[in-house]
């Protein structure tokens, strides 16, 4: 499946896993390892989907999400948020900020792939 995904994740091993999964499915994956300047990158790259980690060094995933949503050019870009903290509060905050899908680590590869496919097709 074609599509361009921007992955923003600070854990290199997790990023590697996601890159492998989506790349095998035919998608193009660009990745960033921290949140600083992530929103600008989204504007430039114009991905079909943003996969965003909640806990990022330098700048929280929620801030990045807010910046993406705040800009008219990227306001409707689908965003999938990942978190390892697994707390209800984070999910609520993310949904309030306009996240499209919220996934808790660890995830199953099938679930991840299905979500990405669905969001990319929107």
């Amino acid at each position: 499946m074609a599509g361009h995904v921007l992955l923003i994740e600070d854990e290199p091993n997790i990023a590697e896993a996601i890159r492998f999964l989506l790349g095998r499915d035919g998608m193009r994956v660009s990745s960033l390892s921290d949140g600083v300047g992530a929103a600008e990158a989204v504007r430039e790259v114009r991905p079909d989907l943003v996969i965003l980690d909640l806990m990022l060094p330098g700048c929280s995933g929620l801030e990045v999400l807010a910046a993406i949503r705040a800009h008219p050019e990227t306001g409707s870009t689908p965003v999938l948020m990942l978190t390892a903290k697994g707390q209800g509060r984070d999910r609520e905050a993310a949904e309030k900020a306009g996240v499209d899908r919220f996934m808790t680590k660890p995830f199953s590869n099938a679930e991840m792939l299905a979500s990405v496919r669905e969001l990319v097709q929107r």
Binding site: P12, N13, I14, I18, S108
Partner: protein
């Protein structure tokens, strides 16, 4: 006339007095006081001024010294006619202060000083002893007169035995009616009425003898006057100096004598009665002295030469065969003597018991003041004091041999008690009089009186040696008892009077001016001197009040506390422009003070207390103090309540703080769990994703190998995290097992460097050490210390961002502690983060690169706490710098 008849008459008379006293006591006990406290009874009771000395001795005095005896009546007459000036004030104060004796009055005036009470009591006892002896002597003499005059030849029993019987009987009567019960006001209605009856008896007796002498023997007034003119008495010249002195001393005596004070102030204390007494008592004295000169003249004429003129009153009727009249005269003299002794011993017993015995007893047995048997002790001490006073009188009578003329003994006592006069008058009219002045004056006067008059009265070589008389005390010429300071050839009585009172007054004034009165003294001084002012203000309220600022201050201090009261008064004084002094008791200030006090003790109490000071001072100072003390107790109680309230508030605050802390802890726990969740889930995510990928198979071998390595790494990471968490938990709750042993710091650092070398081994790290300085042996848990060192070294290796990284390790030993510093040359830790680096998960940088879970420094901190040491960040060292300190010897308890 048969002697036994005389004894019978005497006993009957005494029984009559018993009945009178008993009836009066019964009436008083039933509350039917009525005429018991009338001006007439009051005036008659004053007649105890006329003792046996006056009754018998005045005639003798007139026979020896002519009209001079009149001076003894003139003094009291002047005092009573001028009662408005002094006596009224004395009586008013006596009532207000509930004075029980002259000693009590003086003591009370000068700040309730018991020392003064003791001094006045001693003076009174010493002065009264010869006076009482005089009464015993006169009764004994009169018995003797009858005995020698009886035709049946009844021999008088031993004179001393007679005196003992008389003294014993008087003691019995006095104890029965003087100490029947304990009355706070020290009033004895039975005794007073018996004295009034005796007053009538002695006046009637003397008048009867006088009438018999003038009309029966002298042939009418005209003939008697002619005889007086012809006699030696008619030639007597008035000696102005002696007259002035004697009038003065008798005036002083009527005020100061304990028995006069007793009937004048203590027993009655009603000023209205004084209006009658002011003319009736001088009239009584006039009647008593009316026939003295005729009796003396006729007696000198008719009686054989050598007959004792002191006994003319008795011997004239006897010689003329007037047995009944002689009996009456005898009873008159008996009355004079007994009434004096009874009242005097009551007064002295009160003084001795109140000022000497009770203070001593209370000091010896302080607990007794609380229990209820004080009354019994007081009564007992009074009874013993009465017996003691009479015994002293009897002993003096035995010692002196009953030889001296009656009048001279009486005058010695008068001068003795007159020593109280300066202090008394000064205390009533001079606010500046102080306790020190009073003590000095009294002691000085007492000493001079004893030296110049009292001791010489025993005769040469009795109390004072003849040498002292002639050459002065210790051979000093100007210290002769009858020629003090070179004043020669002066009448000994006047000499003593002059010097004792002059030196007394001088010492009193001098010491009063030199000393400053205490608060109670000031308050009492104001109460005494301004006794009428305070009363006249009455219920008109504060606007007309004449409150003494001292009294207000003392009261305010009791209630508000010293500091508050003084501050209040000082600010008022400033407002009045009297800084440094007490403020005037202006109506506004008093009203303000009342409001202030009301805040502490309630409005009603405050008003009552202020009105006691501003208005009628019918409550004694002690009462006021007692109220104030009670209030202080209440305040103490409310202060305790307040303290409890504060305690509760504090507890509530503590609970709230504890609750906040718990909530904080709960938040921290949530954050901690969230952190742990993150730290666990992150490696799990990688492991799960890659293991799913691997299970799908169909991958090139190098990718399989790579992904397998990642899974392995993440598994190790998980394990390390769990290890750290468990370690931290054990360290934090103090249940860690330490393996204490002796180790060398240098070797421990070696071990740490070797272990930490695995951390970023690719970097070439320069380690700077001072090996000799590291050669320190410590007793600690070496493995735990190495764990800390490893942590610090690997942190440096991980985070030092210098191009040529370098780590300096400095070891120092100081005051039983060792410090090890780890300083690198990187950019260090930003200031705002220095405070949190020892917190859990306080990782500041990219976690993957660091490779830890963020628990390292937290564990270090806990380890050092367990080793009795500490780990701190050292700011300003150029790079990241940590200092580990630990004790040379680990104390087990601290561990």
């Amino acid at each position: 006339m048969p002697f036994n008849l005389l004894v019978l008459a005497c006993l009957s008379y005494v029984v009559l007095l018993f009945i009178v006293a008993f009836v009066a006591e019964r009436r008083a006990a039933l509350g039917r006081i009525g005429w018991l406290r009338s001006p007439v009874v009051y005036t008659l009771s004053l007649s105890i001024y006329c003792t046996a000395w006056t009754f018998y001795g005045a005639v003798g005095y007139a026979a020896r010294s002519g009209l001079e005896f009149v001076t003894i009546y003139l003094g009291p007459t002047i005092v009573f006619v001028g009662w408005w000036l002094l006596l009224r004030k004395l009586v008013r104060i006596g009532r207000q202060q509930r004075v029980t004796s002259i000693a009590d009055l003086v003591s009370s005036r000068f700040g309730k000083s018991n020392l003064l009470g003791v001094v006045v009591t001693a003076l009174a006892v010493v002065a009264a002893t010869p006076y009482i002896a005089l009464q015993l002597q006169s009764v004994t003499l009169s018995f003797g007169v009858f005995a020698s005059g009886t035709p049946e030849g009844w021999a008088l029993p031993d004179r001393d035995a007679t005196a003992i019987w008389v003294a014993g009987g008087l003691a019995l009567f006095t104890i029965l009616f003087g100490t029947r019960n304990l009355d706070a006001k020290e009033q004895h209605h039975g005794v007073v009425l018996a004295i009034a009856v005796e007053a009538v008896v002695k006046l009637v007796a003397l008048l009867a003898v006088g009438i018999f002498v003038v009309w029966g023997l002298g042939g009418g007034p005209a003939a008697v006057f002619a005889r007086i003119d012809a006699s030696a008495i008619g030639e007597w010249q008035v000696q102005p100096g002696r007259w002035t002195g004697l009038i003065f001393v008798s005036a002083a005596a009527v005020i100061c004598l304990p028995r006069m004070f007793q009937v004048m102030v203590v027993e009655d204390g009603d000023e209205r009665h004084m209006a009658l007494a002011s003319w009736a008592f001088p009239l009584y004295l006039l009647l008593m002295s009316l026939f003295i000169v005729p009796i003396a003249v006729v007696g000198l004429e008719r009686m054989p030469a050598g007959a004792n003129p002191d006994m003319f009153v008795l011997t004239l009727p006897l010689a003329e065969g007037q047995g009944a009249l002689a009996m009456l005269a005898f009873l008159g003299g008996f009355s004079s003597a007994t009434s004096m002794v009874i009242v005097e011993s009551i007064a002295l017993a009160t003084m001795v018991s109140n000022h000497v015995v009770m203070p001593l007893w209370l000091r010896l047995r302080p607990k007794a003041a609380i229990s209820g048997d004080v009354r019994r002790i007081v009564l007992l001490s009074r009874r013993l004091a009465i017996v003691g006073v009479l015994t002293l009188g009897y002993l003096y009578y035995r010692m002196s041999g009953g030889s001296a003329a009656l009048a001279s003994i009486g005058l010695i006592a008068f001068v003795g008690m007159a020593q109280v006069l300066p202090v008394l008058v000064g205390g009533l009219y001079w606010r500046g009089a102080t306790k020190a002045g009073a003590v000095a004056g009294l002691l000085c006067g007492f000493a001079v009186w004893a030296f110049t008059l009292y001791l010489p009265s025993f005769g040469p070589d009795a109390a004072l040696s003849a040498a002292t008389f002639e050459q002065g005390l210790g051979g000093i010429g100007w210290l002769r008892p009858q020629g003090l300071f070179g004043v020669e050839a002066m009448d000994p009585l006047l000499h003593a009077l002059f010097w004792s009172l002059s030196l007394n007054t001088a010492a009193f004034c001098l010491f009063s001016l030199l000393t400053f009165p205490g608060p109670v003294e000031r308050m009492q001084g104001a109460a005494f001197v301004n006794v009428f002012d305070a009363e006249s203000a009455g219920s008109l309220g504060w606007s007309r009040g004449r409150a003494e600022p001292e009294a207000l201050l003392v009261m305010a201090q009791r209630i508000l506390g010293d500091e508050n009261a003084l501050a209040l008064f000082a600010s008022e004084a400033r407002a009045q422009g009297k800084e440094g002094f007490l403020p005037d008791a202006t109506p506004d200030f008093v009203a303000g003070l009342e409001r202030r006090l009301a805040g502490s003790v309630g409005a009603a109490t405050a008003h009552a207390m202020i009105s006691q000071i501003v208005g009628r001072a019918t409550v004694s100072v002690e009462d006021l103090m007692a109220v104030a003390n009670e209030t202080a107790q209440i305040m103490e109680y409310s202060a305790r309540l307040e303290a409890q309230q504060e305690e509760l508030t504090r507890t509530a605050t503590q609970l709230r703080e504890a609750n906040e802390k718990l909530q904080q802890l709960s938040v921290q726990k949530d954050a901690f769990l969230s952190q742990i969740s993150h730290e666990l889930r992150t490696p799990m995510t990688s492991i799960r994703a890659f293991s799913e990928i691997l299970t799908e198979g169909d991958l090139p071998p190098e990718i399989v190998a790579n992904y397998g390595r990642i899974i392995h790494e993440e598994a190790i990471r998980l394990t390390r995290l769990l290890d750290d968490l468990l370690d931290l938990s054990v360290l934090e709750n103090g249940s860690v097992q330490l393996n204490v042993g002796v180790a060398n710091i240098q070797q421990l650092i070696d071990r740490a460097l070797a272990a930490a070398g695995q951390s970023r081994p690719e970097r070439n790290f320069l380690i700077v050490r001072d090996l000799p300085a590291e050669n320190i042996f410590v007793r600690t848990d070496p493995d735990r210390l190495v764990q800390v060192f490893i942590n610090l070294v690997s942190n440096a290796r991980k985070y030092c961002d210098a191009k040529e990284p370098e780590l300096r390790i400095k070891v120092r030993q100081r005051a039983g502690r060792v410090s090890v510093d780890f300083i690198d040359n990187g950019s260090g830790i930003p200031k705002q983060n220095q405070a949190i680096i020892f917190e859990k998960f306080a990782r500041l940088t990219d976690q993957t690169r660091a490779g830890g879970a963020g628990l390292g420094l937290a564990i270090c901190r806990e380890v050092m706490a367990n080793l009795g040491g500490a780990i701190n960040y050292l700011p300003g060292q150029g790079g990241a710098a940590f200092r580990v300190t630990l004790p040379l010897r680990l104390d087990r308890k601290a561990a």
